[in-house]
Subunit: 112 residues, 2 copies
DNA sequence: CGGAATCCGTTACGATACTG
DNA sequence: CAGTATCGTAACGGATTCCG
């Protein structure tokens, strides 16, 4: 009886949207990639690679694929040699700007 | 020369505050814990354990320690038998409410 | 009740090398 | 240039047991 009440009271924790957010947009690299694309509109693979301190090509391409699947990033490839691929945000991706900005401000104020 | 320009242009990516945020507040469990404490003010270890679907005691105590170290959560222990320990947010912790709320809204709108 | 200790599997991440 | 493929390590996370 009491257990049932507790279950009900704290039900919010299940399928928590914040958790889903963290699982999908969080992680070590995705926010940086998104942030760079907010600042620079469009970037090539190689530019992202150079811009992100310490990332490997493997990780970068993996994270970009994830973000593409999530419809946050658009990939545009030109059939030239040498290859040229551009990445930019979708509208959905751009809509993250305010969230990331306020997180950034909080972080600057509160985290070392 | 050109390299130097690129380095400069994308310097934002180093020590990115959003990355720091994700590393410290992100992850699978921390946001849920914080959110529950926002909703319920004060909770005991056991209540958190029951409220968070699928968490193990090990993870819970580990995450609570992390959050305590970050000064986001306050721990209050009563010297009684059986033991009683309460967790609540610090002011710093409470200041995350707006961030988490807007993340939650975005998540509800944009993530499955 | 509120943990700590242990064991163990899975995933994330990283370094390096290679390719169309 | 824009990636794959391969391999090794480290961190994460879960299950179980034990204890004051």
């Amino acid at each position: 009886m009491a257990e049932k009440l507790i279950e009900k009271k704290y039900q919010q924790a299940k399928e928590c949207p914040i958790t889903i957010f963290m699982e999908q947009i969080g992680g070590k690299w995705k926010p940086v990639i998104i942030w760079l694309l907010i600042l620079n509109e469009v970037m090539r693979f190689n530019e992202l690679d150079k811009a992100i301190n310490g990332i490997s090509q493997k990780m970068l391409s993996q994270q970009l694929k994830d973000l593409e699947r999530l419809k946050i990033v658009k990939r545009k490839s030109y059939p030239v040699i040498p290859p040229k691929v551009e990445y930019r945000l979708t509208e959905k991706g751009k809509s993250l700007k305010e969230n990331l900005t306020s997180i950034m401000e909080w972080s600057n104020k509160n985290l070392k």
